[in-house]
Symmetry: C2
Subunit: 322 residues, 2 copies
């Protein structure tokens, strides 16, 4: 990690609702952080003014901009090659936004940008459970399913900067496959995201007749959080939902391994809170479905990064590579 | 391509039946070649004696070993990291064979080894239609389906040297999915290899009642070659077999793109001889099934390498990278 004696980097986790900024040191600790509103900030220049105003005292706190090597941004639809955010449906700015360039001009430091899951992978590789690994796959299990793939020690960006969309690999080719928000059918994301888990719970409730505390909640209002609480109470249907989800995730990972034979899968996000309820079926289905030649090779790990800080630390980690 | 003034490399295409050796120049032309028998050569040292005896006059012909930079080997179950051939079912040597090391000791030059499909990918990148590309996927359609994946200008070997087994990605999750030689169900190889094409023809013949020249051949004896001849004659059932095969291949590639967003897919092997009969359905299914963000980006190419020489030239190309 060449640091040119500059001990800090800035990380920005750009979400549809809030923008979280942190200044991070070489050990991955957030030294100081703040956040501003993203939502409703339709004028990009006004947003940039607020962002820089929020950053100014933090930069002072670490001794000025000369102590900062660069800035890394994790953003939905962020393109590493161009530094642009392209057609992000949940951000206030339309079209193609030269986001990295804007920050670089304002702050006078190099700025790099990638999508959130890639930033998480860089974070794991720099500070987390994937430290020192040259080949691993990060899977983020949130509202959607994201991924960041590391091959030969480098993020896989592909020819256009958008590679690593494993949430949209089609894992169900039966006629009953679920419709995905992307317009296609059977994507991993329709099953293994928080939304997918709630959908599975509703399907199970409709098909089965056994007693479960989930029946107390109106069917259309059930969330993955409800499933998680019921599972913690030992509710069988809720546990079966996790088993179904983990099973499909494990089988999907067995397919991904044919691609890049990773040393590990690192899972991050709300669903991992279920611990063994989800990890055991992932491991079992992976072992049962992976090709013989790959058996027993890939570790199945849960990220140990602090939830609240992981995104900003991951984004910041990008800046060490400038 | 650093050549240190050594203008030649040796390539070995190691097959279960024959071993084909070639001395190749920097333009990818085979200057001289020969072959020896692999089959039945159960004693590895006797095989090495024959191989070196066959190579000796060829090496003399190009001015001696000092004109040769190194040797590249394409071998089934070849491991790039170790130079070993590991548990290859169709070779006479059992267990783990230090194949590259043996040749290096005998010839006194560096020797590298990889599997056949990876060698083909290196060949395309060095001399073929993928020249200059940093991200592409090579798909070899032979008795099986092999693949070599290039990301950021480098072959994807994974943590163990065995990555890039796209023939064993499960592409059919229905209960009717075909059983694969690897012991699992629904692998791409069971549909899109020469064997898979013959299997599809037999299925179509059993299900359909239309007239086709393929009915003249006993059902269990039909090969992909028969299907190819019938398709050339305009036989509808044979053409539908190609359509089915290309469609599944195109849909599978649409999934692979979510992984590494390649600039191109390069297809090689017998099935590509069908030209548009297979390429049109590949392209149509790819466009119809790939995520919107990737549409129109990946080229679908047929290798232009000479069939007889491609494997040896691909293996030789490995040696330029030593």
């Amino acid at each position: 990690m060449a640091m040119e004696n500059k001990p800090y980097v800035i990380g920005l986790d750009l979400g549809g609702t809030n923008s979280v900024f942190g200044i991070v040191n070489s050990e991955g600790s957030v030294v100081t952080s703040t956040s501003i509103r993203t939502k409703g900030q339709n004028d990009l220049d006004v947003y940039m003014d607020s962002a820089c105003a929020a950053l100014a005292p933090m930069i002072e706190q670490v001794g000025g901009i000369q102590n900062i090597k660069g800035m890394g941004i994790g953003a939905p639809n962020g393109n590493y090659y161009t530094g642009n955010i392209e057609l992000a449906p949940n951000l206030p700015w339309k079209g193609i936004v030269p986001f990295a360039k804007k920050f670089s001009e304002r702050l006078g430091i190099p700025v790099v940008l990638t999508n959130d899951a890639n930033a998480a992978a860089i974070g794991e590789m720099t500070y987390g459970v994937a430290k020192g690994m040259k080949n691993f796959i990060m899977i983020t299990l949130g509202t959607g399913v994201g991924s960041g793939i590391v091959v030969n020690g480098e993020l896989v960006y592909g020819c256009d900067g958008f590679a690593g969309e494993l949430g949209h690999v089609i894992v169900d080719t039966t006629p009953e496959a679920r419709l995905c928000g992307c317009g296609r059918k059977g994507c991993l994301e329709t099953y293994c995201s928080a939304t997918g888990v709630a959908r599975t719970a509703r399907e199970f409730l409709a098909k089965r007749t056994d007693d479960t505390e989930l029946r107390k909640i109106p069917l259309e209002e059930i969330t993955s959080k409800d499933v998680s609480i019921a599972a913690e109470h030992g509710d069988q249907l809720a546990r079966d939902v996790y088993k179904f989800t983990g099973d499909l995730l494990g089988r999907s990972c067995a397919n991904f391994t044919a691609f890049c034979s990773p040393e590990a899968y690192v899972f991050f996000g709300g669903l991992t809170k279920a611990g063994n309820l989800i990890m055991d079926p992932i491991k079992e289905a992976y072992d049962a479905n992976v090709q013989n030649i790959f058996k027993g090779k890939a570790k199945m790990l849960i990220s140990q990064m602090d939830d609240a800080q992981a995104a900003v630390v991951g984004a910041a980690a990008l800046a060490w590579k400038i």
